[in-house]
Amino acid sequence: MHDREQRANRLRPPDTPRTLPPAWRRWRPFFRRSAQLELDDELRYHLEMRTADYVARGLSPDEARRRALERLGELKRVRDACLHIDRSRERHMRLIETIATVRNDVVFALRTFRRQTLTAVIAVLCLALGIGATTTMFSVGNALLLRALPFPNGDRLVSLDRFSGREQYSGVAVTSIPDFLEWRARSRAFDAMGIFRPGSMTLGGAEPVRLRAARVSSGVFRALGLRPVAGRLFAAEDDRPGGPALVLVSRGLAEQQLGGASRAVGQVLQLDGAPYEVIGVLPGDARFPVGVDVWRPLVLDPGAGWGDRGYEVVAALLPGVTLAQARDDAARVAAEMRRVQPRDDADEHIAVSPLRERYVGAARPAFLLLGAAAVLVFLIACANVATLQLARTAARHSEIAVRTALGASRRRIVRQLLTESMLFAIAGGGLGILLARWGSGIVGGAIASNAAPWMRFGVDGRVLAFTLVASVVAGALFGVVPAMRLAGADPGDTLRSTTRGTARMLRGRLHRVLVVVELALSLVLLVGAAFAVQSFLRLQHIDPGFDARGVMTFQFALQGPRYDSASARALAVERMDEAIARLPGVVAAGATTRIPVGNCCSRFSLNIEGRDFPPGEVPVIPGNMVTPGFLHAMGIPILHGRGFTDRDRAGARQVAIVSETFATTYFPGGDALGKRINMDGALATIVGVAADIKQERLIDGPQAEFYRPYAQHPWDNMTFAVKAPSVDGTALVRELRAVVHEVDPSLAIYSVHSMDHILARATASQRLYGLLLSVFACVALALAIAGVYGVVAFYVSRRTPEIGMRVALGAEPEAIVRMVVWQGTVLAAAGMVLGLGGAVLAARALSHVLYGVSAGEPLLYAGSAVMLMLTAILATWVPARRASRVDPMVALRAE
């Protein structure tokens, strides 16, 4: 009893605030209900007394009342003045009271944390993980989807892309200059429209530098709404043929190479061996396309070929025009063009999409996927802290009963417990922000691999606000349930018998339900992670069709006046080819237009001899110009016919090699050899059939592709593949640089990567899915297992007397262990059943994003379920052992 009194004293502060005058407090409810009525009573009493006084002095009742009223003055004014004073006083009192109780609650909560440090720390860490995961994903989404584009017209900007009706728009630039000119002339929905083509240029100097470059029409900057930092931008007349050689440079380039923005204007740069005058400097953040350092005018030659489809179009919507209206307008333009100028690819459409999609693109499904996983982790963390809170409050139940008995209201106690939960949540949120600061850059950079520099994946005000909301939601989620439950208990019951009271109130059902939910959510994440890992493994086992081992690649570009003629380009590559082949250790080497599974592709409209394609169905097929050694260097076998040789040069018969799929698709009779294909007017005879390779993406199925000899179609941007398995990479690169320098000292080589690296890069995003989902799943599993442990441990402590009884009656320790383990097994089984439904849904969603997995993979479900089951049972082991060692005498005495 003495102990209980002491405890009651310690508990006093939050329940009996001493800051309020007792009288006021006593009358407060009444006062609050009718401050106005009370005032009216008071004034009425005054008037009646005064009237009675006047009557006593001999006035008539009417006269007396009139004089009394007169003396009080204007009644309404007096009343309003008093009410105003009363109300502001009441507000003030309420504020003081609120502050006092909150302060008391917080102080009290901190005191209880000190008493239960371990659980408090665990709860805060759980929440930090949950909130940190969601905040990380939110800050990524914030950067991807919410943060404004760094262009003045940002919200009105759209990309326009041509696509044929047969294939969905795939993100590959396929617009030609004549397309653009037609669109610009016929459309009505756009303010300004510009066309551009990204590329690269070599800035001359002692050490040539390869720069990202773009050719842009003047409309691009008008559409973006950009202003130059110095100088001027391109004007409409710069789009015309025959203008002077002008460039704009980025602020970064101006500052690093040209002595500052204002001094850059007027300087002459040697780009690809030709002089260009700098006329303006663009702002640093607003580089478009991303990473470009030099912009040249794009000559809008109406005579340019329809077939040259390497351009992209950006436009600003007229103010007030919606995306839907713009799409209608584009559809009208496309229909007009089909009618007026039917061409071979007449089934032409125009895709209008927000410019943001250019940046978000492929990152969207990854973001949604990982975001969903983060929300699951968050929910699991909340459920876990809720179980911790239940256990905590169960231990404190007798204290709360004492407080209730001492007159603390239910509301008061709930508020006290919620304050504790909120403190947890806010501490967790604070740690979560630190986690997000660290994680958002990693995740963001990885899922948006071509993220623009302005997409800062950090923590900003919006992210902070999100974290605060997430913390409060978390606090409410895990705090309300245990709080309501405790406050609903009957204090008398508990005071009569602490053990029995606790057991009665906390049968543990809620506790178990929470853990089952945790297990179910964890299973969803585990299955998701299993699918992602499986997908990555399958991706690793795809046969790309070429042999990447020991192959080093580098790019170079033959641009500028020196390489204007095709024969100059052909000669330069031939010389490099020969010199590289002579290097010690080089097994084979050759150049190609686009390295397989690299960044993209070059596609051509092909007419095929003997096949009459109706207009609009002419196939667009990836093709590469290769030197004779390329297929050999990449280990791509020739299945029929021959490979290219030195004799396949400019004047000789035009030849081509097609892929196996090309041959079987267009020549099902197996008679591809000797047939001719028409590429840009050149009729080339098929002399060989090569094995299929993955040219564009690893995950694509077999595709029709073709090769042409470089000497017959000398391209400007090329990639060399050099197979030299026995030579050290850095030494080889040094040798290669020397060779290229010998051929032409003004050439820069860039994008130097091993083929293995290029393959790894192609699977990087899948690896990231697998990795992140595995991390999320592990966190979830750890949380869920902690939850199982908590429930079973609680079960054991509650049943200690019963277990003691059983032991006393002769039960074997094994039987006790079995009984306790059974508890965990039942929980795990229930979680499994519940979770499998969610897991199937998750797997179905994942199969759209991940390569090579479908929702029906029984092994993955079974494996995940068994893993969860086993760890759950393992978690019951410690409490089970404890139960089996219960000393019957101690246990029975406890009752």
Partner: protein, 114 residues
């Protein structure tokens, strides 16, 4: 009931209310009556200001209120001087004395100071 009663100076009303309550809890009408009687009806309380003044004193914690039964057995709001109110009364009384003394001294000064 003389018509020509002196208007109570602003601020003085608070002091008089505190003084009225120093004799024990009473209602608003009682305060008004006490001021009239104690000053032989020479000071007439502006009743339009009396009640706002009482409520303001309550808000400042100088008086507290309670409902009780009046001498004629009616329900009335009683005002009680709080400890803070009592202290304030002491301070205000002292300063009034000094003020009045200073005014008197000025009024009875014999001549223009040399």
């Amino acid at each position: 009931m003389p018509d020509a009663s002196i208007e109570i100076l602003r601020g003085t009303l608070d002091l008089l209310i505190l003084k009225a309550l120093s004799w024990g809890p009473t209602h608003g009408y009682g305060v008004a009556r006490w001021i009239e009687q104690a000053t032989d009806d020479a000071l007439r309380v502006e009743e339009g200001s009396l009640y706002p003044a009482l409520h303001r004193l309550e808000a400042r914690g100088l008086v507290s209120t309670d409902w009780g039964l009046s001498e004629n057995n009616r329900r009335a709001r009683f005002y009680t001087l709080t400890r803070a109110g009592r202290a304030r009364l002491k301070v205000e009384t002292a300063s009034w004395r000094r003020f009045a003394a200073a005014v008197f001294a000025a009024l009875e000064a014999p001549a223009h100071p040399a």
